[in-house]
């Protein structure tokens, strides 16, 4: 889809909702080099959200949407959970169907788009909670990686089932006392990033959403690599401030505290040699293009 597809018939311009008009006027579909710095100067692809005030998921969501390399040709897949309260406000096509089946949906979707648009790139990006990714949907998460499906999986890891009120999840820390873990969680946080690496992911990152620039780079890499080579996985700490007893303004500090070098969300990246070479090649092409443009001027 190019920007021409969202043009408004002049006759109807004045009756269109203002947010749609803004999307047409200053949305960043088709903008080369789009990124988090567009926020504030252009229309974001997320209109608003009904998450708790200050929920770090909302920040992460905005950074991700600002960083998708080609939102005009990206379809997102969500799952039930706090993220499903945001997707209805998102201006890229997105699918919510059931809880936990997101990687199966994405598998069918990506294949359909490849059959229907053999000469066009259509990116598929999954964004779901930790319960959806690791517990109820683990089978489908892993199987999509085993098969080498070409899409990106992003997990908003808030270390619990937030949307149902703070129950134990597989990504919860050991010992944490939560609903359904009344004497503390008995087993370790599931090591999904490592499992992802062993399951065929080309690029795996474990991080927090504290630094938009970092999120942008990771998301862009993850989408580019998935496009060409195979599955990519990004696990982002988006603390549920409500359930861990933090105030609205404390989310950022919580992320910063948890990404210290010895902490569980210290930035960790795994990339295959193939993916590394591919990114280097993309970079070289981008630089060559920029040099050529400069020379032409």
């Amino acid at each position: 889809m190019g920007k021409d597809k969202i043009r408004i018939n002049e006759e109807f311009y004045d009756i269109m909702p203002p947010e749609y008009r803004e999307l047409v006027e200053s949305g960043t579909y088709g903008k080369e080099g789009r990124g988090w710095k567009d926020m504030g100067s252009s229309k974001e692809l997320i209109e608003e959200h009904s998450l708790c005030a200050g929920c770090p998921e909302s920040m992460a969501f905005r950074y991700i949407l600002a960083s998708l390399p080609a939102p005009e040709d990206t379809v997102m897949v969500g799952s039930t959970g706090c993220t499903s309260l945001v997707f209805p406000h998102v201006a890229v096509h997105n699918i919510h169907s059931l809880f936990g089946n997101q990687n199966a949906i994405a598998t069918g979707l990506k294949r359909a788009l490849m059959v229907r648009f053999p000469n066009k790139v259509k990116d598929v990006v999954v964004l779901a909670g930790d319960g959806a990714t690791v517990d109820i949907g683990l089978d489908m998460t892993l199987q999509s990686w085993f098969r080498g499906e070409k899409f990106t999986t992003i997990c908003f890891d808030n270390e619990l089932y937030a949307n149902t009120g703070g129950q134990e999840s597989g990504l919860m820390q050991k010992g944490f006392v939560a609903k359904m873990a009344p004497v503390g969680k008995k087993f370790d946080k599931v090591r999904l990033p490592e499992i992802a690496r062993e399951s065929g992911c080309q690029y795996v990152v474990n991080m927090t959403a504290s630094q938009p620039g970092k999120v942008e780079k990771v998301i862009r890499n993850a989408v580019y690599i998935a496009r060409e080579l195979g599955p990519t996985y990004v696990q982002i700490y988006t603390p549920c401030i409500l359930e861990i007893g933090k105030q609205s303004m404390e989310g950022l500090q919580e992320m910063r505290d948890s990404e210290k070098p010895t902490e569980r969300f210290a930035y960790k990246e795994y990339i295959t040699d193939e993916a590394k070479a591919y990114l280097a090649d993309l970079d070289a092409k981008r630089k060559a293009k920029a040099t050529a443009q400069l020379a032409a001027k």
Binding site: I6, S50, S84, S97, G108, L113, R116, K122, M140
Partner: protein, 400 residues
């Protein structure tokens, strides 16, 4: 994007996209002796399917694998084995959300494993076709024919048809897509059959030419947007319904559920001319009627032949579509009947329950005979049931 624009052109296999009615009713038919599984393959060869997802479970495994051969030959756009029926049905959903014509098959435990997906398919208006080759549901473990699973499918919002023979199957798979994909229907369809009896037996089937195929699915005729970013993404709602306990939320959910059922009812006008009605009748002026679906119809027909030989006239109603349910048709067909016998291949008698719910004087419905767990139903069992009804002195019966 107009699907009609491709009519008369060839696909990459050299098959000509043919106007559906022409394909169904005018194209020459060639008789071929095939198993039911092979018939499924032959229908899919002519169905312009974009994506098929498969998973092994008896008695559909053979058909699902044969369709894989079609993919290898280039007749199907993509084909994969999923990891479980739950995943398979979600993979089908993903492909349909992305605008593909989708096909899958399942049976018994697979149907139940997949279940959360079926109402989701209907609610999301995905015109997926699933073949359900009915078999027993555990426990104890069974792979034998049994139609219990159909009763679970009846309230999913999907269209549900029950084929009697492999010929029904061949025709209905192709016709099914045409009905499912109508803009005013746009619903998934379960084409059910009795496992083994239909899938694993050979029969002579009249096939359409292999070089003719259905026109492709046009996802832009869908009543809901296709998720391919080829049309403007809209902010779907101001407040996600799940968050709100308010009138708007209730009204939306209530009206959408009604709309899904209404869409199913609207399918009648497309189905009736293609299938020749939602039911088929023989001698419904008789005082005793057999009302059946699936292979129980064939057994009923045999029983009628035996009863005719005794000089007893018995009519037959073959129910082809279970959703939408042929309420008016069955009322009309049974209005003169004194006794309505409903033989079924399951323990609960769901068809008898359905018939009882919609006719007046429903004490006329004789529930059964039933067989379950894989047993066959000899026509003599139906004959015996009818003898019992007569012997019990229930009504005066006209011989002739």
């Amino acid at each position: 994007m107009e699907s009609t624009s491709v009519i008369g052109t060839a696909n990459k296999k050299g098959q000509i996209f043919t106007e559906p009615r022409k394909l169904f009713f005018e194209a020459p038919r060639v008789p071929v002796f095939l198993t039911g599984s092979e018939v499924i393959k032959e229908a899919i060869r002519r169905a312009s399917v974009d994506v098929m997802v498969a998973y092994p479970i008896t008695p559909q495994s053979e058909a699902a694998a044969l369709c894989g051969e079609l993919f290898a030959e280039g007749y199907v756009g993509d084909y994969m084995r999923g990891e479980s029926e739950f995943a398979v049905m979600s993979q089908c959903a993903g492909a349909a959300f992305g605008g593909a014509r989708v096909f899958t098959t399942t049976a018994g435990p697979g149907t139940l494993r997949a279940f959360e997906n079926f109402p989701m398919w209907a609610g999301a208006r995905l015109p997926i076709q699933v073949i359900v080759t009915c078999r027993g549901i555990n426990s104890p473990l069974s792979i034998q024919p049994d139609t219990l699973e159909i009763s679970f499918l009846l309230d999913t919002g999907m269209m549900v048809w029950h084929a009697e023979t492999a010929q029904d199957f061949f025709d209905w798979i192709l016709m099914g897509y045409i009905v499912s994909e109508q803009p005013d229907v746009h619903l998934p369809l379960a084409v059910c059959c009795d496992g083994f009896f239909v899938t694993h037996t050979k029969d002579t089937i009249n096939l359409t030419p292999a070089d003719m195929t259905l026109p492709p699915y046009d996802p832009y005729r869908s009543p809901v947007p296709c998720m391919d970013m080829e049309c403007p993404p809209v902010r779907m709602m101001r407040d996600p319904f799940v968050m709100k306990s308010n009138y708007i939320s209730y009204a939306t959910h209530a009206s959408w559920q009604q709309e899904v059922r209404a869409a199913c009812e609207r399918s009648r006008k497309h189905t009736i001319p293609l299938l020749g009605g939602l039911i088929e009748t023989e001698n419904v002026d008789a005082e005793i009627l057999i009302v059946a679906s699936g292979t129980a119809v064939s057994q009923g027909r045999e029983a009628i032949r035996l009863l005719n030989a005794e000089g007893l006239k018995v009519g037959l109603v073959k129910v082809k579509s279970l959703r939408p349910f042929p309420t008016e048709e069955i009322r009309q067909a049974t209005k003169n009947a004194k006794w309505i016998i409903v033989p079924e291949f399951n323990v609960v008698g769901w068809l008898a329950r359905e018939v009882r719910a919609i006719i007046d004087r429903n004490d006329r419905v004789i529930v059964g005979p039933h067989v379950a767990g894989g047993m066959t139903m000899p026509p003599e069992v139906i004959v015996e049931k009818i003898h019992q009804v007569i012997k019990a002195g229930k009504g005066e019966l006209v011989h002739g």
